[in-house]
């Protein structure tokens, strides 16, 4: 009860110095906004590159290539791969991107045979439009929700990227892969012809295996089979493929961790600075509290509580603003035809709140120690 009362007193202190509290809250909110955005980037990257026991997808790419515009494999490899042990499905895919470089505005076209779309979209659901609408039009596109939001597209709209014009037939969301959030699925022959690659040539094959234990053996079988062909292959699990191909994107996001650390340090510095100022201005008050019988621990608790109130309040604003911002803006970063959507998750939200609380405790620790360690006489002398 006493601890709770001290929290109420700390809240009153924060309220009494409104200007200082508002400035600190704004500063913490901006720092936590940046941290949450960066943590969302990191968590999206982790989910795109860390393999799990449920992974059963392989990507067959042209050996020694990583840019989709340079990987060209004959479409007839499909039937050869399908005959191999452990393979349940093979989907030939033609990929066309507006730019291979790392950017925030990448549009990825994926041409797939219309007969295979069911296999690809087991965990895909339609937000708008339908599969039948896509099948009706040769230039129809099933676009990810993120891409639709970013380009403000709705059913029936036409859009152009990388010299290809398509009509939106469906807006999809997939629980399986964040890649689908930014992709425009089009008919394979349509993309092969409009991109002038030509019929019979694809960028990659998506191979589904019966279980994750078969991933390695199937990958070896595929590469061995085509080793001496004019177009040899390199087969890897989907997430490993992402990790090896989008290196630049991964480097960029890994580097952003330093910005996240800088924002955390700035938040600690800001709160510690504010609380130190508060402690300095309340030396006499603390002396009076000590005279009235408040222990050193109670004084320390009071100061830490004020720091935690400010940091949690700022954290709440910053984390919430970042979550809303990321949901509204649908930010995606692309590299070499692979796109990573930054979708905030509950875990990022919880990490943000937990961290802002922890930062308050850390930032308040030194001022609390400083205020509580002085004797009443020292405090009164200092005023």
């Amino acid at each position: 009860m006493k601890s709770f009362n001290l929290i109420v007193v700390a809240a009153k202190y924060a309220y009494r110095n409104r200007t200082r509290s508002v400035l600190t809250t704004i500063g913490v909110a901006t720092g936590m906004f940046l941290f949450t955005t960066i943590e969302t980037m990191q968590s999206s990257l982790r989910s795109a590159t860390q393999s799990t026991a449920n992974d059963t997808t392989l990507i067959v790419f042209r050996e020694n290539r990583f840019c989709p515009s340079t990987s060209r494999l004959p479409e007839y490899y499909e039937s050869e791969i399908k005959r191999m042990d452990g393979v349940t499905e093979v989907i030939p895919v033609q990929i066309l991107v507006n730019n291979c470089g790392t950017s925030l505005d990448v549009v990825v076209f994926r041409g797939i045979p219309s007969s295979k779309v069911g296999a690809l979209s087991e965990k895909m659901h339609f937000l708008h439009g339908s599969l039948s609408k896509w099948l009706e039009r040769s230039d129809g596109a099933l676009i990810g929700a993120n891409l639709a939001q970013r380009r403000r597209l709705k059913i029936g709209d036409s859009f152009d990227a990388a010299g290809v014009t398509v009509t939106v037939a469906g807006i999809i969301r997939s629980s399986e892969s964040s890649q689908d959030e930014n992709v425009a699925y089009v008919h394979l022959p349509f993309l092969q012809q409009t991109s002038r690659i030509g019929l019979g040539v694809v960028t990659q094959f998506i191979v589904k295996v019966k279980d994750s234990s078969a991933l390695d053996s199937v990958a070896k079988q595929i590469d061995l089979r085509f080793k001496n062909e004019p177009e040899p292959t390199n087969t890897s699990p989907e997430k490993a493929f992402f990790a090896s191909t989008a290196k630049e994107l991964i480097e960029l996001i890994t580097f952003s961790r330093w910005i996240g650390i800088a924002s955390v340090l700035a938040v600690i510095g800001l709160i510690a600075n504010t609380i130190l100022i508060a402690v300095r201005s309340k030396i006499s008050e603390h002396a009076v509290l000590k005279t009235l019988g408040y222990s050193q621990g109670a004084i320390a608790w009071l100061i830490v509580a004020e720091a935690v109130i400010l940091s949690t309040l700022g954290g709440m604003f910053g984390v919430s603003a970042a979550t809303i911002f990321l949901h509204l803006q649908s930010i995606t970063i692309g590299n070499e035809g692979l796109a990573l959507a930054f979708i905030p998750t509950h875990s990022v939200w919880l990490i943000g709140f937990g961290l802002s609380w922890t930062l308050g405790v850390i930032a308040g620790a030194y001022p609390a120690w400083q205020a509580s360690s002085h004797s009443i006489a020292e405090n009164l002398r200092a005023t």
Partner: protein
């Protein structure tokens, strides 16, 4: 007016607060300068890479990416025979057929690294006039020459790409025979290889582009007409400067990310600085009252406080300039299509000084308003 000596003495009277303010302001100024330098380096590298006098023929629909472009082998000869206005060097046309390829090379340390390879013939040196051979010679078959900054792109030390060293590409060992520079352009991060070698290694029978050096201002109009009339070649003509301006706008969101990160962290530091100023000024209300009582106007006191804050800001700016020039000048960062080198030139240094001084001017306003707004009796009572 209050004497300047009094103002300057005040800055050093409270060393702890001054250090806090200088530290916070230094962080803000440094972040602004770094964001500015990164932005400028990226933009100027791309702007410098494109010459107003060079014309690029690309595959129609690939205006956003040379790497994706494909045009028929021999297009350079057709263009040479059809266009007049091509600059002549030793009675030969300055026209360069090229293949741009983003591929994996194996380095001396047995690491796979993404490299920017450009397949060229000797005419490339007539077209790209910023390229200077620093050491060695132009490569023949089985050889390459490397840009001065290519080691950054490959993540190697400069000594690993010295003349006589080897790079492995598509299981072929390529000897480094030359080192070139092209000050401030993306070419400095590239590896140049004989055109036919590259086409053989990547089993490609098409060119990425044809670049020519125009002899006069009318050449571009002629080139455009040529591209539009020869529909069979499926070409598009662009000024090299226009192409790189497009690429530059493509990377604008990445540049904005640097700015936004810097601004968000700066807001936190700025709020901390404001808190410190509020606390410092509040502790000096008695002094402001005394100054008013002996006849100094509130404007004079405000002017003196502004001078104090600007002086602190100037110290912070000077410190930031020292840190950036001593530790950050010349740092190179790889990005999708090259390497950019940050340089703290006069503009950035002046912007740092301006930011520091402005920070002081803006920061002093809210606490001055709060402390100088009340009339003299109120000021004296509040102390």
């Amino acid at each position: 007016m209050i004497p300047l000596a009094y103002t300057i003495r005040n800055v050093f009277r409270r060393p702890t607060q001054t250090l806090q303010l200088v530290g916070g302001s230094c962080l803000v100024v440094l972040l602004i300068m770094v964001a500015f330098a990164i932005n400028q380096a990226m933009q100027s590298t791309l702007t410098n890479s494109g010459s107003e006098r060079n014309i690029i023929f690309l595959g129609a629909g690939s205006e956003e990416s040379i790497e994706r472009s494909e045009i028929a082998f021999g297009t350079d000869e057709i263009v040479n025979a059809s266009l007049e206005g091509i600059r002549q060097v030793m009675n030969q046309s300055a026209i360069s057929p090229e293949v741009h390829y983003n591929g994996m090379v194996q380095t001396k340390k047995n690491q796979q690294a993404q490299a920017l390879l450009r397949g060229v013939q000797h005419q490339a040196l007539w077209v790209h006039r910023k390229v200077r051979l620093l050491e060695g010679k132009f490569p023949q078959s089985g050889e390459v020459m490397v840009g001065r900054l290519a080691h950054h792109k490959l993540g190697l030390d400069a000594k690993d790409l010295m003349i006589g060293e080897f790079l492995e590409f598509n299981k072929e060992k390529l000897r480094i025979v030359g080192v070139f520079d092209a000050r401030g352009t993306v070419m400095e991060a590239e590896i140049w290889i004989p055109l036919l070698d590259l086409m053989t290694y990547i089993q490609r029978d098409t060119l990425s582009c044809v670049v020519l050096s125009a002899a006069n201002d009318n050449s571009f109009a002629d080139a455009e007409v040529f591209a539009k009339t020869r529909l069979d070649l499926e070409l598009v003509a662009l000024k090299e400067s226009t192409y790189y301006a497009k690429i530059s706008s493509f990377y604008a969101p990445i540049r904005w990310m640097a700015w936004i990160s810097a601004i968000l962290i700066s807001i936190g530091a700025f709020m901390g600085g404001l808190n410190t100023l509020f606390a410092t000024f509040s502790a000096r209300i008695k002094e402001f009252g005394a100054l008013q009582a002996i006849g100094f106007s509130r404007f004079s006191i405000f002017f003196s406080l502004s001078q104090e804050a600007m002086f602190t800001g100037f110290i912070a700016a000077t410190l930031s300039i020292f840190i950036s020039v001593l530790f950050l000048e010349g740092l190179s960062f790889p990005f999708s299509i090259g390497v950019f080198t940050v340089s703290f030139d006069q503009t950035i240094i002046l912007s740092g000084v301006a930011a520091g001084t402005l920070l002081g001017m803006v920061g002093v306003l809210p606490p001055s308003w709060k402390c100088l707004r009340p009339n003299l009796p109120e000021t004296l009572r509040s102390s």
